[in-house]
Point group: C2
Chain length 410, copies 2
C-alpha cells in the first residue's frame, strides 16, 4: 500500500503557515506500515491541484488531500476531486443540516456560503468524524483499471487528525488487504544516553528480531527525553495490546526508574499527577533556570494549586545559601523556596558560584522533602539555554524518583 | 521568474523533522517577487530525487534542492544533480582544505568521509557563504534549449538561510532579468487590532497604490504583535532604503508609540535594550503569568544582569497586596517585586481576585518606576494560556512606553 499527501493552500507556498500536517500524516502512515514516497504542496489553483492529485494517483494507491475544504470561493478541493472522478457535485442534506446546527449552537447565523461545504462529489462518502464545519471525504475511483482512493481532510490540524485516526488509517490498511492491526506504545525515559539505552535493550531488540512479534525503536527528543517506541502487529486490538503489555513489562525491568511516563506524558505532567494524588504542593528555586520550570508547570496548573510558585533571582535572595557551595547550596535554596512560598516540597537547580572551578555544564539539583533533603551533581550538555532546560527536567526527575519510592503523603 | 523547492530527506517524509525550510524559502521567494507554484518533499532515493528535480526543472526556471549534502552515503544530492547535468563529479581542493580546517579548528580529526562534501559536479560553482562543512552549489544547465539553474543548499536551517540571503535570492533575481532590488522592513506593533491598524494606515496604502513606490502588508503574529511590512522595489540598495526610510517615517507618525521594534526585534529584546542603555534593572510579580515573562527574559539575559528576578505565586506572598483589588493591587505587587528582588523597577500582571466580577479576560498590569507607579486595566482575548502570554507582552509594553517617554536613568 502506497499513499501520498497533497497539501493544498497558497499560504503554505508563501510560508505564511508551516505545513505541520504533512509531517504528522507522514509519521502516522509510517507507523501504520504504509509507504509514502512523495509529499507535495500546491496553491489554490484548480489546474495545478488537478495535476498534483492525478500524478499522485499514478504513482500511489491512495492520496490524502489536506486543505481547501473551507466555505470560501478559493476552497476548491471538492470541485477538483469531482472533476478527477468525472462526476458532478451533489448537496448532502444531512451535512447541510449539521452545519446549520453548528452555527445555531454558537448562537450565530450561518452565512449561505457555508453550505458549499455540504456539496460532495457523487460517489464520495463523508467521514463520520466531523469536529468542524468541513466534512472529510472518502472518494473511491478507478485509474487505469485499478481501484484507488482520494481522501479529503480539512487543513485545521485537530480536525484532520481526528479523521485520520477515526477513519482514514484503518481504511487505508483495509484497502491494502491488511487484516492485522498495528499498535504502538512509547515509553518515555530520562537519564540514559541513546547509545547506553540501545545497549541496555540490545537483548530485547534481538529477541524481537527472532520472534517478529514487535519492534523497538529509539527517538532522541531533547528535553523530552529519549522515547522507546514498541510497535506490535497482531490480528486484533486485544492481541496487539497483549504483546505491547508483555514487552513493556520486560523493558520496565531493564530500565526501571528511568521510565518516567508513556506516550504523550511529559515529565512535568507526571510529577504534577504524582503530587496531586498525594495531596502535596511544591515550589522551586529557579536561580539557574530563570522561569523555565515555572512556565512549564503553570501551563498545566495555571491556578497553581500544586505548583505553588518560585523564587527567581540569579543567586537567590537567601543569604544562608550564598555562604555555601555545591550541593549544600542547592539544598538550602530548595528549603528556602519551600518556606518562602509555603509549600510541602522545594526543588532547586543551581550553577556553581562564580570563582569555583567545576567541569563545564556542572549543575546542582536538590529536592527538599518534608522529612529530608537530597541533592545531585550532574554535568549537563549543550549551550546555556539548552543546559537550563535540561536542568529543569533533571530537578523534576529527582523529585519524581523520590515520590515514587516513598510513601510520602500530605 | 519561477522557482521551485525540492526538500530532500526520508526523515521529512516520515515526519521525524518538520520541513520548516521550504516554508521559509517560500516566504523569501514571495518577498523577492519570484513565483513558486509547487513544493515537493522526497526521500533519499536517487531515482525519485531525479524524477522530482527533473519535473521541477520542466515547469520552473530554477530549483532549490534543500538537504542531502551531508558526508554520509545517503547524502546523494550532489550525485543526482551531476547526473541531471550530464557531468562527472570533481573534487574541489579549496573546499576540501576548508573542511579540514574546520575540523582542525575544533581540535578533531576529519573522518575521510567528509571529503565527499568537497566533490562537486563539473560546471557547478560553490556558494561563497559556507557556515558548515557542506558547500552550497549553483548548477547552471540547459533544458530543452532554455538556460535553467539548480541550487543545492544544506538542510541545516541557519546554513541554508545564510546561502539564500547571501547568494541565491540575488542570483535568482539577476537571472530573471531583474536589475532592481527588493528590500523590506517590518515595523512591529502592539496594542492595535488588525482591522484598526489597517484603517489607520488606509491612506498610506492608497497613496502607495498610486505611487507604486512600495507596498504595505499586515501580518498578525499572536503575542509577537501585528507586523507591518513595507516592501520597496528600486534600482539599487540605496534607493530602496531611502523609500523604506521615508515610508517608515510616515507610518511612525500615524502609529506613534504603538511601534515597539523593527524586523526581528521582540518586545522583551526592546525592553532589555532600553533598560541596559539606561543602566536600570527590573523585576516582576508573575502572579498571573507564572514564569512566562521570566523564561522569556532569561533566555535573552541568562545571567540576569538587567532582569533581576521574579516572585511567582498565585496570589503573591505579599499580604499588603492581598487586601487590595484592581489596579491598586497590581501596583502594590509590582512595588513588592521590586523591593523583594532588589531592582530599580517592578512590573506585574494580575487577574482580578476570585469573587470580584469583571469582564472576561480582565487583567491589571502595573509598572513601579523609581519615582512613580502606574497601572492599566485591559481585557485580553483567548483561553487562559494565551491570555497569560498576552499579559506578559502588555506589561512589558507599558514599561517600554514609560521608559521611552521619560528621561529615566540609573
Amino acid at each position: 500500500m502506497r499513499c501520498e499527501v497533497v497539501a493544498i493552500g497558497t499560504e503554505l507556498l508563501l510560508g505564511q503557515i508551516v505545513d505541520t500536517n504533512s509531517s504528522w500524516i507522514g509519521e502516522q502512515l509510517a507507523l501504520a506500515g504504509i509507504d509514502s514516497h512523495f509529499q507535495v504542496k500546491v496553491g489554490d489553483n484548480p489546474d495545478r491541484m488537478e495535476f498534483c492529485i492525478r500524478q499522485a494517483l499514478e504513482r500511489s494507491d491512495a492520496v490524502i488531500c489536506c486543505g481547501g475544504l473551507g466555505p470560501t470561493q478559493d476552497d476548491i478541493t471538492r470541485n477538483v476531486i469531482a472533476k478527477i472522478m468525472g462526476v458532478e457535485m451533489v448537496r448532502d442534506d444531512a451535512i447541510a443540516a449539521h452545519i446549520r446546527d453548528i452555527f445555531e449552537g454558537r448562537g450565530r447565523v450561518m452565512p449561505e456560503n457555508n453550505l458549499r461545504q455540504a456539496d460532495v462529489p457523487v460517489g464520495a462518502a463523508t467521514i463520520a468524524q466531523m469536529p468542524g464545519t468541513a466534512p472529510g471525504l472518502v472518494c473511491p475511483l478507478v485509474v487505469d483499471g485499478v481501484e484507488k482512493v482520494i481522501y479529503a481532510v480539512p487543513g485545521v490540524p485537530h480536525e484532520m487528525r481526528e479523521m485520520m485516526e477515526g477513519t482514514i488509517l484503518a481504511d487505508l490498511r483495509r484497502r491494502g488487504g491488511e487484516a492485522s492491526v498495528i499498535r504502538s506504545r512509547v515509553l518515555r525515559t530520562w537519564g540514559y544516553g541513546e547509545s547506553a539505552l540501545a545497549e541496555t535493550l540490545a537483548d530485547r531488540v534481538d529477541a524481537l528480531d527472532v520472534s517478529g512479534l514487535a519492534t523497538i525503536a529509539f527517538q532522541a527528543s531533547g528535553i523530552e527525553g529519549i522515547k522507546v517506541r514498541i510497535t506490535a502487529k497482531a490480528s486484533d486490538d486485544a492481541a496487539a495490546e497483549k504483546i505491547l503489555a508483555a514487552e513493556e513489562a520486560l523493558i520496565r525491568e531493564l530500565l526501571d526508574e528511568h521510565i518516567f511516563g508513556i506516550d504523550e506524558q511529559s515529565m512535568e505532567a507526571v510529577v504534577l499527577d504524582m503530587l496531586r494524588a498525594r495531596g502535596l504542593t511544591f515550589a522551586a528555586a529557579e536561580n539557574l533556570t530563570g522561569g523555565i520550570l515555572s512556565s512549564r508547570m503553570t501551563a498545566l496548573d495555571p491556578k497553581m494549586e500544586v505548583f505553588r510558585g518560585a523564587t527567581i533571582a540569579p543567586h537567590g535572595t537567601n543569604e544562608n545559601a550564598l555562604a555555601l557551595s555545591g550541593e549544600d547550596r542547592a539544598v538550602t535554596a530548595a528549603m528556602y523556596a519551600r518556606e518562602m512560598i509555603g509549600a510541602d516540597i522545594g526543588i532547586s537547580a543551581l550553577s556553581p558560584p562564580e570563582g569555583e572551578s567545576h567541569p563545564p555544564g556542572t549543575v546542582f539539583v536538590a529536592v527538599a522533602l518534608p522529612d529530608r533533603a537530597e541533592a545531585r551533581t550532574v554535568a549537563l550538555p549543550g549551550v546555556l539555554s539548552r543546559m537550563r532546560s535540561y536542568a529543569v527536567i533533571t530537578a523534576l526527575d529527582l523529585l519524581r524518583k523520590r515520590l515514587s519510592e516513598s510513601g510520602l503523603n500530605a
